[in-house]
């Protein structure tokens, strides 16, 4: 091909359009209660919500409760991941176990963890522990399933090579199984992080243990629409943040992995 000139890629159009979309949405949001289409009691003005957001960000109590939510999120995610990695590796590596547990897994997985909320409340009362049970239960499955897939995905040729070189079981685990399972694990952790956040907030909403979800429910029952919308925005930002962070982590670990395997990153 005969190259005539080089230019730098342009993407301002994308940023402009995206910004325009966001602004347009905020504008419509502001107009709806202004025009009386919906009572401002049910759909407060965007400006009011934003002001309330800033107020909350200045309030220490808000951060304390947010911290509680993130604490249960963090603990639940860590425990679930640890358990799922261990159990997933064991079940994935032993074909007998994999076949034996298959039905159980397929039955327990579709059970919505929120169905267990009443049980958790009975057992632990209105405390973080009840929420933790729910968070761990749901997050566990995300990582567990991915681990099983990952461990099963070990390249057959690589496995035979390892065996022919008489690597010990621990060496095979460290140099063969874990690197293969790593991208699956990262995907599972990213999914579990999102699920754990959803459930942490949901559990607080339903059970009532202190945290962001509880604040949402309190706003609703008190008829504090501005606060409610403000907290919903906070959860959206939180969800975005968690997603971005874990996507970044996944990409970093994946890029290492893929460069080792010599694949192209799309």
């Amino acid at each position: 091909m005969h190259v005539l000139s080089i230019r730098r890629p342009r993407s301002p159009r994308k940023v402009l359009l995206g910004g325009a979309g966001l602004l347009g949405f905020l504008l419509i949001w502001q107009l709806v209660p202004t025009l009386g289409l919906v009572n401002s009691q049910y759909l407060p003005y965007v400006t009011d919500v934003l002001v309330r957001l800033v107020e909350e960000f200045r309030d220490l109590a808000f951060w304390r409760r947010l911290g509680l939510t993130m604490t249960s999120w963090g603990i639940g995610l860590s425990v679930a991941t640890a358990a799922a990695v261990a159990l997933g590796a064991v079940v994935g590596l032993v074909p007998f176990l994999r076949r034996a547990t298959h039905t159980m897994v397929e039955f327990l997985r579709p059970i919505p963890s929120v169905a267990l909320i009443p049980l958790a409340v009975l057992m632990f009362g209105i405390q973080m522990r009840a929420a933790l049970v729910i968070i761990i239960y749901a997050s566990f499955w995300q990582v567990f399933v991915q681990m099983i897939y990952g461990v099963a995905d070990v390249d057959a040729v690589a496995r035979d090579t390892a065996r022919s070189f008489d690597l010990t079981r621990r060496e095979r685990l460290w140099y063969l199984v874990l690197p293969t399972a790593l991208p699956y694990l990262m995907t599972g952790v990213r999914l579990a992080a999102a699920v754990a956040l959803i459930l942490a907030i949901t559990a607080e909403m339903v059970i009532g243990n202190p945290g962001l979800g509880q604040m949402i429910e309190l706003s609703r029952s008190a008829g504090d629409a501005t606060g409610l919308y403000a907290f919903v925005v906070v959860t959206g930002l939180l969800g975005l943040g968690v997603n971005l962070v874990f996507r970044y982590i996944e990409r970093r670990s994946l890029s290492w992995h893929q460069s080792v395997r010599g694949e192209q990153v799309q």
Partner: protein, 266 residues
Amino acid sequence: MPDRDVLLQVEHLRKVYESATGDVEAIGDVSFTMDAGELLCVVGPSGCGKTTLLKCLAGLLRPTSGRVEMHGAPVTGPSPAMAVVFQEYGRSLYPWLTVRGNVELPLRHKRLSSAARGKLVADALDAVGLGHAARSHPWQLSGGMQQRVAIARAVAYQPEVLIMDEPFAAVDAQTRADLEDLVRELHTSRNMSIVFVTHDIDESIYLGERVLVLSRSPTWVQEDLTVDLPPGRDQINTRALPRFTQLRTHVYDQIQRAKRGQAVAP
């Protein structure tokens, strides 16, 4: 040779790709004419813009400058008088449709009764030897058979010109010989005009009545060769003719000069 009408006229065709990272000149200055009922082969070194030329002929790309005309009228877009057979049959046939469905799809918007449509499809499939495979899916067939389906689809469309973009490049040698004979047969029995792009020199001489040799980028027509081999061709005898070897050597030589950039534009 009987007096034929001019079918396609290409004058000073130039195509420049503009991308976000720079301009690439795919075709510099290409001019040629093609008569009705001709089998025209196009060869050239890799990256010389053969595919770009085909797409401009088929109306899939607009030339940067120059003219492509069919029956004296400029080609501004795809037309019912042209049908394309792409190289990547695996990506050109739709896997969710049956063979029959694939061949029928372009005919749906033509105002035909379903009986007439069915007959066209059946005839086309018979012509390529796949009458029995109408209800299979493309991915159930071998590569050569899939390409036959693509040819049947183009034939059923009843175009004036069949445009084929290195259709047999991804097929094994034995199947390629069969498919080449199929193309010759379609050409003689239906008097179809065919533009056949290939990188295989032997194939271009075996098939073509005329061979266009393209230069290296920026592309121009380095040579316009008439193949004076007898019209009745077969794989063994024709390829053993001394004239075949002469032509073949000549074209090979031309392409080597093109690759080295030694040929000078007139």
